[in-house]
Amino acid sequence: MTPSDSTLSDKPTPLPPTQWRDYQWELLRTPALDPLMHMALDAVLADEVAAGRRAPSIRLWEWTRAAVVIGRFQSLKNEVDPVGAQRHGVEVVRRVSGGGAMFVEPGNTITYSVYAPGDLVRGMSFQDSYAFLDRWVIDALGTLGIKAWYQPLNDIATDTGKIGGAAQARRGGAVLHHVTMAYDIDADKMVEVLRIGKEKLSDKGTTSAKKRVDPLRSQTGLARDVIIEHMMQTFRTQNGLVDANVQAHEWALARQQIEQKYGTAQWLALVP
């Protein structure tokens, strides 16, 4: 270690090389998609940002059908009740990021992905980058009258319960950061398709997964679309945002990756 190194370490953590406003952010909205297409598009769009072929983007998710999305490192058997999932017509898929299983039904969640250049969070701890990439959402909820905050490691919470959770995957020079917030929830169905053990809840101050989530519908009384438009407007005001589309070659890549990876039994049972 040279003297200049020790001098450097005394300085405050430098700001990341870039700021939100250094990019022209694009908003991607699509018709409702199948669960597998959501999985593949997340990988493809993050990789396109990493390769510099796509502007940093935000994508809003709409679902054609109910799904359980398990995390990259979760055991399929431990997380999903296959009988319950089949009975309720719930498709089970595995995503590219770590974190926990989520149960979604069309219209019941607000899910979005942020495809950010790594420079935007360079030098930050993982913990700080989660809160940083969702700052605009916390602000948006705040102006809707919901006092929300980031509950480490990766939850968005309010006084009355958890609203949502985030997960990240680093892909090349890009960060995929995606979030699912509960708008409405069929908690009885959820506990029939997800296996939520006591150990997982052991430090959550509750013994019931049903009681843990308090959705946006009951907290705001607002229509889902109204909340989404407000969120997008908040992002637009803070960081700039233009409407854009998923490109033909991106759709093609995603379809290819469903066939070769995300739609295969090997990927779903990657951790059996």
Partner: protein, 100 residues
């Protein structure tokens, strides 16, 4: 002991306080760990690190001191690896639970 349907015979779960859930499934061959499978809702970059951790435990004797297993797990990860919500120490906690 092998489960009758060849599912791993030992299972442990550990929720890291303020962190994520770590799960382990494994078999024993004599006093050696085998078919080790770590899972959970933690984060790990790059994701291939999960295989590194599983491999690091394969064939390890159950009476190996915890500190040695922790060192072995940390050494198995690539230098650029990052664990978020768990640690090598947490893996050893869940391992001991599975063996208890």
């Amino acid at each position: 002991m092998q489960g009758p349907d060849r599912t791993p015979a030992r299972h442990g779960e550990y929720k890291v306080p303020g962190g994520k859930l770590v799960v382990i499934d494994l078999n024993l061959q004599g006093n050696l760990l085998s078919d080790v499978r770590i899972s959970g809702d933690f984060f790990l970059e790059p994701p291939e690190g999960l295989d590194d951790l599983n491999r690091a435990l394969e064939g390890v004797a159950i009476d190996t001191p915890d500190a040695q297993i922790i060192a072995r797990l940390n050494a198995a990860l690539r230098p650029e690896s990052e664990m978020f919500g768990f640690s090598a120490e947490a893996v050893v906690v869940v391992l001991r639970r599975a063996l208890a």
